[in-house]
C-alpha cells in the first residue's frame, strides 16, 4: 500500500482526504503542536459562522413575530378604513394608507420609466465608454446618499425653489431620485441576461433596433425589471427621513398631489416617538410590515418567473 501510494501520486491525494495531510502541510507539525488541529478548527469556525447566520434569521423572525403578535389584534377593519382622531390616539390609518400608496406609487411611476430607459441606453444603444462609466458612477453615488440629504434637497428644491410645497408630489419626486439607482441597476442586469442570440434573430428578421428592444428584449426582461420596481416600491413605503421634510406630516386625506400627506411609516414614527398610543403604533407597524412582506413575496415571484423565462 505504501509503495503504491508513493509510486502513484493520485493515491497520495486520496490519502490526504482520509485525514492524513500531505507532506507540505504535515511538515511543520512539531512546531504547531499546541495549535488546534485543522479539522477541529474547521468544526468550531463553521459552527460559529452558522450561529451568526442563524442569529440574522432569528432577528428577522423576532421582529416579524413581535410586531405581528403585538399589532395584529389591533388591526381591525375600522382601523384600516377610519381616519385618525385625537392625534392618532383613536381611529385608524386610512389617510396614511392612501398617502403611502400615492407617494410610493407616484415615485415609482416617475423613476420606473427613467430607470428602464437609462438601462436600455446603457445596454442596447451604446457601448462601454467614459460616458457610460460616468452615468454608472452617478447612479452609484446617488445610491449612497443618505435619505436625510435627499430630504434636505427635496425640501429646498422641489418644495421651495420649484414651489411645489410640502406635498405628495415633492415627496414622490424626492423618492424617485432615491430609488432611481436601484431601478437602473436591476433593469440593466435583467436586460443583460437576455440571450444575445435573440438580438441576432430579431435583426435577421428585419427589425430596427427599437423594434428589437421593445418586442423582444423588454418582453424577456420584464419580470427582472419588475423585481427592481417592486423592491423600489418597498423602499418607498419604508422611507421616513426624506418624506418628513418633503411630503410632510398632515394627517388628513389629501385632495390633490399638491397636498401634504403623512405616510404609514411616518405615522408610526410619530405615534411611537411621541408616545401617543402604543396599541395604535403596533397596529400601524403590523400593517407596514405586512405590506413589506407581501412586496418581497411579489418580488420573489417575479424573480422566479424571470429565471424561468431567461432559461
Amino acid at each position: 500500500m505504501t509503495r503504491q501510494a508513493i509510486s502513484n501520486p493520485l493515491h497520495a491525494d486520496e490519502g490526504a482526504d482520509n485525514g492524513a495531510p500531505p507532506p507540505q502541510i504535515n511538515a511543520p507539525r512539531h512546531r504547531r503542536q499546541l495549535r488546534i488541529p485543522p479539522d477541529v478548527a474547521q468544526r468550531i469556525v463553521v459552527g460559529g459562522l452558522w450561529a451568526i447566520a442563524m442569529s440574522a434569521v432569528a432577528v428577522l423572525l423576532f421582529i416579524i413575530v413581535f410586531i405581528m403578535v403585538k399589532g395584529l389584534p389591533h388591526v381591525t377593519p375600522e382601523f384600516l378604513l377610519q381616519a385618525p382622531a385625537k392625534g392618532g390616539r383613536l381611529g385608524g390609518v386610512s389617510p396614511m394608507i392612501f398617502g403611502t400608496i400615492a407617494v410610493a406609487g407616484l415615485a415609482v411611476l416617475i423613476a420606473g420609466p427613467i430607470g428602464v430607459i437609462t438601462a436600455i441606453y446603457l445596454t442596447e444603444y451604446t457601448r462601454e465608454s467614459k460616458l457610460t462609466a460616468f452615468i454608472r458612477f452617478g447612479a452609484d453615488c446617488l445610491a449612497g446618499i443618505p435619505s436625510i440629504i435627499f430630504g434636505l434637497f427635496g425640501f429646498v428644491f422641489f418644495a421651495d425653489t420649484l414651489g411645489l410645497g410640502i406635498s405628495i408630489i415633492s415627496g414622490a419626486l424626492t423618492l424617485a431620485l432615491m430609488v432611481l439607482p436601484t431601478i437602473i441597476r436591476t433593469s440593466e442586469e435583467a436586460i443583460r441576461a437576455v440571450p444575445a442570440a435573440f438580438r441576432d434573430v430579431s435583426f435577421g428578421l428585419g427589425s430596427t433596433r427599437w423594434q428589437m428592444v421593445t418586442r423582444v428584449v423588454l418582453r424577456s426582461a420584464l419580470p427582472g425589471i419588475g423585481t427592481g420596481i417592486v423592491l423600489s416600491i418597498g423602499r418607498s413605503i419604508s422611507e421616513t427621513a426624506a418624506l418628513m421634510l418633503t411630503s410632510g406630516m398632515v394627517a388628513r386625506h389629501p385632495s390633490s398631489v399638491f397636498d401634504s400627506a403623512r405616510t404609514l411609516a411616518l405615522h408610526f414614527f410619530t405615534l411611537s416617538r411621541e408616545g401617543i398610543s402604543m396599541p395604535k403604533a403596533y397596529a400601524t407597524a403590523a400593517v407596514l410590515v405586512l405590506a413589506i412582506l407581501m412586496i418581497n413575496l411579489l418580488a420573489y415571484w417575479f424573480m422566479r418567473r424571470f429565471i424561468a423565462r431567461v432559461r
Binding site: 438580438r199 435583426f203 435577421g204 428578421l205 427589425s207 423582444v216
Partner: protein
C-alpha cells in the same frame, strides 16, 4: 438605377416561373455579386479578397475548416456583421445590382430579402404563431388572414405544419430541438425572402432531424437562392449545385459541386474534401 430595376424584374420573373431545373442549368445573371470583399473586426482581418457570384435558384455550399471566415462571409450578406461596432470592410456586395453597403440602403429591408437560419435553433420567447408572424408584422403586414396564410404556407414548406397546427399558441420553446429548427426555418420563410442563408443549420441536430431539414430545403431549392455554410462535406455534396471552399479567410476555389468534389483545381481543396485536414 434603371438597369438595377430591370435586373430585379428579370430575376423575379425567373423565380416566379417555378422552373427550378431550368434555373440550375443556366444560371443567367447573378443574384449576388461579391467583388474584392475584405472584412474584419478591429485589428483582426477575417476575410481577404473574396470575389464570388451567387446565382438565383441555386444552392451554393460554402465549406472549409473552422475559422476560415465562412460565417463572417454569410453574416456580411445580410449585413448582420454591421451590428458589431468594430466591423470594417472594403469591396462590394451587390444584391440584384444594388450595393448593400451603400449609405442609402434600408438595412431592415435587406435583411428581409436575405433571410438567415442559425446554427442552433433560437426560438424567440413568444408563441409559435408570434414567432412566425414576428417578421411579417415588422414588415407592416397587419391583415389577420394574410398572416394566418403566411404561417400555414411557411410551416408547410418547413414540413412542420402537421406537427404544430393545433398548438400554434403554445410557447415555441416547448417544441423539440429539431422542430424548433424547422420552426426557425418557417419563420424565415414567412418573410418570403429571395435569398436564404443557412449557417450550419444542422450542426446541433440528430440525424433524423437533419434529414427532415434537408428534405425541407430540397423542396425549397427551386424557389430560393440558398447559401449553405457547412462543416459536413457530405451535406455540401448532397445539397448544393455549386460549392466554394474557404480557407484562412480566402476563397480558394468555387465551382459546380460535382467538379469541386471530383476534380478540384487546388490541392488544398482535395486535401480538405478527402479529410486530410480540417
Amino acid at each position: 438605377m434603371m438597369s438595377a430595376n430591370n435586373e430585379m424584374h428579370k430575376v423575379d420573373h425567373i423565380r416566379c416561373s417555378h422552373v427550378g431545373e431550368h434555373c440550375a442549368t443556366s444560371p443567367g445573371p447573378a443574384k449576388i455579386v461579391v467583388r474584392d470583399f475584405h472584412a474584419g473586426f478591429g485589428e483582426t482581418q477575417v476575410l481577404r479578397n473574396v470575389s464570388l457570384d451567387i446565382y438565383p435558384c441555386q444552392r451554393l455550399a460554402i465549406i472549409g475548416p473552422a475559422g476560415g471566415g465562412k460565417t463572417t462571409f454569410l453574416r456580411s450578406l445580410n449585413r448582420l456583421n454591421s451590428l458589431e461596432h468594430d466591423f470594417r470592410h472594403s469591396g462590394s456586395i451587390l444584391l440584384d445590382g444594388q450595393d448593400i453597403f451603400a449609405s442609402n440602403v434600408d438595412v431592415a429591408r435587406i435583411r428581409r430579402r436575405v433571410g438567415m437560419l442559425y446554427a442552433v435553433p433560437i426560438p424567440l420567447p413568444l408563441s409559435i404563431y408570434e414567432n412566425l408572424t414576428y417578421g411579417p408584422r415588422l414588415a407592416g403586414i397587419r391583415d389577420r388572414h394574410r398572416l394566418d396564410e403566411l404561417v400555414e404556407t411557411s410551416l408547410k414548406s418547413a414540413i412542420l405544419w402537421d406537427e404544430v397546427k393545433d398548438r400554434l399558441r403554445e410557447p415555441a420553446h416547448n417544441l423539440s430541438g429539431g422542430q424548433q429548427q424547422r420552426m426557425c426555418l418557417a419563420r424565415v420563410l414567412a418573410l418570403e425572402p429571395e435569398v436564404l442563408l443557412l449557417d450550419e443549420p444542422c450542426s446541433g441536430l440528430d440525424p433524423i432531424s437533419t434529414a427532415k431539414i434537408e428534405d425541407a430545403l430540397d423542396e425549397l431549392k427551386s424557389r430560393y437562392t440558398v447559401v449553405l455554410v457547412t462543416n459536413n462535406t457530405k451535406q455540401a455534396a448532397r445539397a448544393s449545385e455549386r460549392t466554394a471552399f474557404f480557407l484562412m479567410g480566402e476563397m480558394i476555389e468555387c465551382g459546380p459541386t460535382a467538379v469541386i468534389f471530383t476534380n478540384p483545381r487546388h490541392g488544398r481543396t482535395s486535401d480538405y474534401i478527402t479529410g486530410h485536414f480540417g
